[in-house]
Symmetry: none
Subunit: 220 residues, 2 copies
DNA sequence: ATATATATTAATGAATTGTTAAATTTATAG
DNA sequence: CTATAAATTTAACAATTCATTAATATATAT
């Protein structure tokens, strides 16, 4: 689960990073709203923690901007506010915030609030199954049905195929695939190929087409 | 669906009544905790919305009392809290609350939260017994029937299997499992495995499938 | 034909889960 | 209340699966 923290105080960034990473979250940080927008576009965080009080671009403006870009349209946004800034609540919710936590921050409380938010959000997620002709990939069940047979795919194989099937026919570049499926990890050139091969092998077919010099696409 | 709203401010009662009735709920109101108990006994509401801050008998005490009378033992209870009353969250959940919404109240948010609560509840309540082929798990009797034989499962084992069987085929992540079965307790990495193993051992079969890197699921 | 991109294969090492026994906590009977 | 049993959790280590790479082969565009 990816979290982006935005605050102009380095101390707070470190404090929160430490506590959230300890919980197993993948944490990124930004010192101001502008940076936050750039980073958010790249990493597509599931949750963004925004300080309301920041110089230049405050949390509320940042929130509004974040809601405009597709990468964070559906991210959860949690505000950090000083106890006195009650006014900000209305403005914040209008700008699209999902929850608030007041300073001083108590890590345990923050974490329980984050968990509650993520949990709540999960319940609203739409159907996770994609079906194209006789192929159906079901994220909830983590199963690939092919001509009535259940085929087991390992995690990366599954995520890769799911990503390709999310927009059938679209060619995904290697960069796009590495960004989405590998979270921008540094992996060798052949890694994708090997995974594609495994999928082709397991399904005994070739719905994943190679577009030489461009990338891969799922197509019947 | 019957909802009881408890708040000492008439304005809020009216505001909420208006918004909830518009959604088709059958709304009753009470101006304090004592009244709430009386009314609740009569109408047996499915959901009770409780303001935490009330003179005389506050929301948390009212909640505790409501949990004691049979008419509302299984009702859903949702708290309204001011942003600053952080303490109430912990105390509220201990008193038996199911969810909370912070003021100022956004009707859209409140309604979506109510719907989520009712939905969640329906799934849990519909039948306390889940039967899949020759396996039947009965929450009321706290018993697992497998091929006509009664198998004793310890409490955690039972809860875990029940959770997995609640949506057969769905992969539950370790996070989800810890959140639901262990109430977010900090338990070691191997705890779930050991419980899974015990269940597999006792049933002498493997209906609990491991999806490596993802989680576990119940599947025939 | 040649350069470049992709496919294949097998080996390695990392990550995750399984197993067992012992330690700890909780429940139960006397 | 205490002794005992049962349940739960932890820790250590084994087993397994998966991801990645490297080496090499093959395919494709120009």
């Amino acid at each position: 689960m990816k979290i982006l923290i935005v605050d102009d105080e380095k101390d707070i960034l470190e404090f929160l990073s430490y506590n959230l990473e300890k919980e197993g979250y993948q944490v990124s940080t930004a010192l101001n709203g502008m940076l936050a927008l750039d980073i958010a576009k790249k990493i597509k965080p599931d949750l963004i923690i925004l300080d309301v009080m920041m110089p230049e671009m405050d949390g509320i403006s940042t929130c509004s901007e974040l809601r405009k870009i597709p990468e964070t349209q559906n991210s959860l946004i949690l505000f950090l506010t000083a106890r006195s800034e009650e006014y900000s609540e209305l403005a914040g919710f209008n700008a699209g915030a999902d929850d608030y936590v007041t300073k001083p921050i108590k890590p345990k409380l923050l974490i329980s609030r984050i968990k509650a938010l993520l949990k709540r959000n999960k319940n609203n997620e739409s159907s996770s199954s994609i079906k194209i002709e006789d192929i159906e990939i079901d994220k909830e069940r983590h199963v690939l049905m092919y001509r009535g047979e259940e085929i087991h795919l390992a995690r990366k194989e599954f995520n890769l195929l799911y990503y390709l099937m999310s927009i059938p026919g679209k060619v995904f570049t290697r960069e796009e695939i590495i960004s989405e499926v590998w979270n921008d990890a540094y992996v060798g050139d052949r890694t994708i190929d090997v995974h594609v091969r495994k999928i082709r092998e397991k399904t005994g077919s070739n719905y994943i087409k190679t577009i030489k010099g461009v990338g891969y696409k799922f197509d019947i």
